[in-house]
Symmetry: C2
Subunit: 501 residues, 2 copies
């Protein structure tokens, strides 16, 4: 076999696997948007069928052989195909390590946990969820043992699933610096005498107007609706269907238009990333975001660093005012800017302001570490949760629904909450590097944000999974990851807004 | 093997085949509605993949064995499974008769013909289309030879593909009676001194209002939007996706709201049929309309017999007026009723009135017969077409676009145009039988049309393909097909509208 043939064999196989993935994603997308509710059972059946077929393809001897065939040529492969072999072997071997019976048991445990999570949240009672949550987390710990230690610890094995090569010590340092710098900043803001008025953010705006505002914002930031679409769902998300088909969703609350607008910018950020991975990587394992944290860095970059900047408000607010006419006629852009940046510690992560958001993640990170080390009794979970909310955010959680039961994530696994905070920090470091290249505020004020997208495409998007996240950050920002940029950014921004010393 | 096991083996196989069909239909539906245009190539690739996989499944030795296994139990199978065996063997053996190379050549010929059809229509020049059309039709004639004669003729072989067991003599008699009774009726109407005003049908009504009108009509006739949906496409159609997922489409022309409203009732009729086949037939070959003509009878029944009746206009017009406010405020229900039933011979089949519609089909039927018998030179096609339009409709076709090039159908095969006229006639006979059971006008005027749908479900819909079309008509109407009901219906209706003697 020639090298060219081995490459073709791999790509042919991946293309068909991708068709299965396409079908699953499309049916899922329809399921949560506009497919007839009464046909959910059949959609479920079909998704299970294709999901199982895809699993069989991904773990087949045929596939293994194609990867191995490619591996024979490793020394003469270019970097792209070397990386494909590395990641494919890693994935394939990892998949093989878990006995398929155990994997089935795990999937069952997850779907039970999800079911009881919903029920528990409804009844506002963690006890209903507890045994099922425990089962999922125990199995996660077991899986790490099957995978084996990485750099000396099972915890690193876990982390590596979500952020290649990251280690516990780095994350500890990162969260430590957040504690050291965000907590004092939050105290100063609390002590500030400035009162920011934001009641107008709850004024009702109807769906049609909000949708027009959403499409306008997507256009400004550069999400290409000819290669994607925007629809409404219960929870906003981004999903790639095909090469030129990246879909995002939002949720319209008539009395909370800000939730819609910033969900749209957030998902738009994810979407722009997906739309700009180099298409030469399509039908390979590399056609994907570098990691969850890198993905999140792009959504947060657009949502917060660009979207909540004063320049951006100045640019878009007059049009938003027009589209919402007459609801915001009496609100100035300065009032708008202050209101969307108001700091106010709250119970719910997804409703947190930009400053306190990472503190919600800090709490989950600390708890996950203890859970993985089995240092935490499941009975104590709500109490520990509430204690940490008191300690870091200064608020008293009143019930499980606003506390331990607010996030669905743990019902399907543990260990990736850190990505949300790391994404914020990556975003700030990328922003710092971008500032070296251009006057970002000036670019925003010009109304043409393309230079920003182009830079991100050049330095982040195009690579897909070709580079490890660490290497990607280093290449794009010309230095290793450093949480200082995130803390600096927050300090500078909020010192100005709250007139702090 | 036990009988039960043979049944299960068949149904398991069909279920997976159905998943493939589901995927193809869904991707196709998205393609023509709201999927990003720029991803058409990938959608095409994926549809080709699943289409080929499905073809392989439908012609596999595995499938043949499952049908044969079921056939072993034929004497003890109930009617449903006997019919399944009959139809499956028929389909399977028919598929086997065409060499796969020839089938590929045919598919290529069809897609070329389609391409050049579009081009020819654009340029208004039949000559561009001619060689490609000839190729498709020649191959159709060749296929009939592969299939073998039915009841002594190749033409019957053809007809049987679209309407089981129907024979040329029956269709000849049917079209002969249309000629004998519709043509004189049309002459009388042309000679009538009554002028029907219909200019208000061209008043502009915006998309949102037209959509509200469409949803209202679907509700009135009983299309279940919880088990389906309505979207907009270039050409209206109905497509089953899944058991509880039947989708219909319409096209909104701001200056032709009638086109939208009656497309919606038409497709709604198809959709109601699809929504009410007995679900016990799902995942078998019987879960389908009895034939194209029967399908068309249901859309025409709702569109014309119900939808263009005076009772229906009286029922829905006040609400349509409200939804279109203020566009139709000065138009009375009587004016509306007359306008939508105005007879006016025209060039384009899809824009024809209820009376002249079947004459357009008559022309195509006569031409298809000659084509299949190779009695017609392709060079003469436009001239013959125009001559027949002059003879039957009394109008002079001015160009190919309004004549021979108006329908895309022949680019993918020949022989099923008759279904459109036969559907009209079936609808009238069914209507006659329904009248024996209930006072249809009174039911319509009550505003609750459910008794009509229930009767149709009981007598037509539920059976799917369990009965042959002939037997279905006989069972539902208590007599064999008789075109007299259709001619009677038209005579009675138009005699009243045009005050004829």
């Amino acid at each position: 076999m020639k090298q060219k043939e081995a490459i073709k064999n791999y790509e042919d196989y991946m293309r068909i696997s991708h068709y299965y993935q396409y079908v699953m994603n499309e049916i899922n997308f329809e399921d949560v948007t506009d497919a007839p509710k009464k046909n959910y059972r059949e959609r479920n059946e079909i998704m299970n069928y294709f999901s199982y077929e895809l699993f069989k393809r991904n773990t087949s001897i045929d596939f293994e052989k194609r990867i191995e065939d490619l591996n024979q040529f490793y020394p003469t492969l270019d970097k792209k195909y070397q990386r494909i072999v590395d990641l494919s072997l890693k994935d394939f071997n990892q998949n093989k390590k878990i006995p398929s019976e155990l994997m089935k048991e795990y999937q069952k445990a997850c779907s039970e946990a999800y079911h009881y999570y919903i029920l528990a949240k409804e009844k506002n009672d963690y006890q209903i969820y507890k045994p099922y949550l425990k089962k999922v987390l125990d199995m996660n710990v077991l899986f790490a043992k099957y995978y084996g230690k990485k750099s000396g610890s099972y915890y690193n094995t876990f982390l590596d699933l979500y952020e290649e090569d990251i280690q516990e010590e780095e994350l500890d340092l990162f969260f430590q610096s957040l504690k050291e710098r965000i907590l004092p900043l939050l105290e100063k803001i609390k002590a500030s005498s400035l009162t920011i008025k934001d009641d107008f953010l709850k004024r009702p705006i109807d769906k049609q107007k909000q949708m027009a505002m959403a499409h306008y914002l997507l256009k400004v930031i550069g999400f290409d609706e000819k290669r994607g679409m925007l629809k409404e769902t219960e929870h906003p998300f981004t999903e790639r269907i095909g090469l030129h088909d990246v879909r995002i969703t939002t949720h319209i609350y008539p009395q909370n238009f800000i939730s819609n607008l910033y969900s749209v910018i957030h998902e738009g950020g994810h979407g722009i990333y997906e739309q700009n991975i180099d298409k030469k990587l399509y039908n390979t394992i590399l056609f994907d975001a570098a990691s969850m944290s890198i993905h999140e860095s792009q959504s947060r970059f657009y949502e917060n660093i660009i979207g909540r900047s004063y320049s951006f408000c100045k640019l878009v607010y007059p049009t938003l005012q027009k589209l919402a006419h007459p609801t915001l006629q009496d609100v100035t852009v300065d009032q708008f800017y202050q209101a969307i940046n108001k700091v106010s510690p709250s119970f719910i992560r997804t409703e947190a302001d930009e400053l306190t958001y990472s503190l919600h993640i800090l709490i989950r990170y600390e708890m996950e570490k203890m859970l993985i080390r089995k240092e935490l009794d499941f009975e104590q979970l709500p109490a520990i949760w509430n204690q940490k909310y008191k300690e870091y955010l200064g608020i008293d959680v009143q019930n499980d629904r606003d506390g331990i039961l607010q996030d669905v994530h743990w019902s399907s696994g543990i260990g990736y909450f850190f990505s949300y905070a790391l994404g914020n920090a990556y975003a700030a470091q990328i922003y710092h590097a971008l500032q070296e290249e251009m006057d970002v505020d000036q670019v925003i004020q010009s109304g043409n944000l393309k230079p920003i997208k182009d830079w991100l495409k050049q330095n982040i998007y195009q690579y897909g999974k070709l580079l490890k996240p660490k290497d990607l950050i280093k290449k794009a920002t010309k230095e290793s990851f450093n949480p200082k940029y995130y803390c600096d950014y927050l300090e500078e921004k909020y010192t100005k807004i709250y007139h702090l010393k």
